[in-house]
Amino acid sequence: MICLCTENYQIYRIRSMKLIDEYIKTLEKELQLKPKLIAEEIGIVTEVKDGIVLLEGLDAVAYGELLEFKKGVVGYVIDMTEEEVGAIILGDYTEIGTGDKAKALGYTLSVPVSEKLLGRVVNPLGNPLDGGPVINSKITYEVEKIAPGVVRRKQVNVPLQTGIKAIDSLIPIGRGQRELIIGDRGTGKTTIAIDTILNQKTENVICIYCAIGQKNSKVATTVELLKKYKAMDYSIIVSASATDSVAMQYLAPYSACAIGEYFMDKGKDVLVIYDDLTKHAWSYRQMSLILRRPAGREAYPGDVFYLHSRLLERACRLDEKYGGGSITALPIIETLEGDLSAYIPTNVISITDGQIFLETDLFNAGIRPAVNVGLSVSRVGGTAQTKAMKQVAGKLKLDLAQYRDLAAFSQFESELDEETKKFLNRGTKVTQVMKQKKNRPLSLAEQVAIMWAATNGYLDLIVVDQIEKFELRLLDILKLKGKKWLATVNQNKILNKEDEKELEKIIKTLV
């Protein structure tokens, strides 16, 4: 025993000697180096405002460069005039006073990115907000980046399943598309976005939820919800809440997009939700007014269009040559009393590839999700829809369009012919089918089954308030008896004649 111990001790001694030798060598090397002479760019703070400082000096600073104040507080140059430089402060600006020195760091703002971000809640600088370990990564991505050009892009033709019947059938969203979710407060905008995240569990899509200017309590609820449905494993939350400075709120969506670009460059499909861009525009307006930029319509600065267009343009689908990844953007805009013609809504509507319009009246009438099918569009449309869905949704669209026309018309007529009654009946049933409880996304096959039943008239004889029950029973039976059918349709994404026959058999047992 004693012999062993001394042997171990010997080995230990030799090892530590080697270590000490190495230390001495590196120290010697460092001492031999001559002190580097670096010419620094220095500025002096002349004015401090809410989250923004104005500086003198800094003659050779670049737009977007980072500045370092005392105690390591970092600023970001966003304004340059003949005499002064304006910078937003990322962090605690109460520490900075007039006369303080600021040093230009010579590089632009970037966030650390890595796979470790999955399942985390971070602020726009990549610092954790969930009490977890700091995200260390050698790879950083620039927050402001020019969107990929035409050559690197590819047509959007792969569907992104939201799991919401009304959207997947009528307003299909493709991977790489930008689809706006717009509506008044309390109409279920965030719910649609969260349901979409929940549905990506089996779809191999990384989801980034960017909360801008929201209540901390709401963000906490969202995190809890995602954890409950085990959706945090493939999600990242970037949050700049209402308590954070406007600078953070302004940076949040760009930062979220930069994180998305990291995963896109790895060939993955990414979904980014910006909740919401109205508050983002507000924060930019506040910054611009403090910087004394000329105010335009609704006191927004002149470049408020570019503010959102440069962000949403970064959503794209890359060609296979460049990895084939994609970023799908779901920006959210809150309107006041359904006013779509306000400044920010019209801007973002014109930037995006379509919008999902949610209405208070529909919401109160019990149609949830409260999607106004007439005003909602997807400019990518059918190219981003699976064949199975196209087969059933084509008829559905027609049914609904005819129903809308006739419903408005038939209010004044007392006697209706059989044909009209049939259309009206079908329309009410299809409208019922479009209803869906929140946090319960459906798979492609489940959606197809219900819509097939509706378009083929199996619901015509069922009373309106029994339709929900029928749907639940159908789903239960499909899970019990039609497991194979669900699997084949979900995999092949086509509805064969045989599949249809089998579905018919199952539905007939219910009716």
Binding site: E40, E41, L58, E83
Partner: protein
């Protein structure tokens, strides 16, 4: 009192020009008065700078070493600068 806009713009122009002129000067800060040999050594070391317009100032708060300023550019070779960098590093580790 209303200020004549003409006077105001002239004044602004004058001040800007003054600042511009000042920027051409090189300021050298040192904790004690440098003798000619030291000055020559500095000039030799930084021969890419234009030393025709140079001002040598004394500032004992920098403790040791020198600081060379030209416009907003600054080369900090003072003990004070090194120490504040060190305190910053310690603060970050903390």
């Amino acid at each position: 009192m209303k200020i004549n806009p003409q006077i105001k713009s002239d004044l602004k122009k004058f001040l800007l020009e003054k600042i511009q002129k000042e920027k051409e000067f090189i300021h050298v800060l040192s904790p004690y008065k440098l003798d000619n040999e030291e000055k020559n050594q500095i000039k030799k070391k930084f021969n890419n700078l234009n030393w025709d317009k140079a001002v040598f100032q004394i500032d004992d708060s920098i403790l040791a070493g020198i600081i060379i300023k030209k416009g907003s550019k600054i080369i900090d070779m003072s003990l004070y600068g090194k120490l504040s960098n060190l305190s910053h590093t310690l603060y970050e580790i903390d």
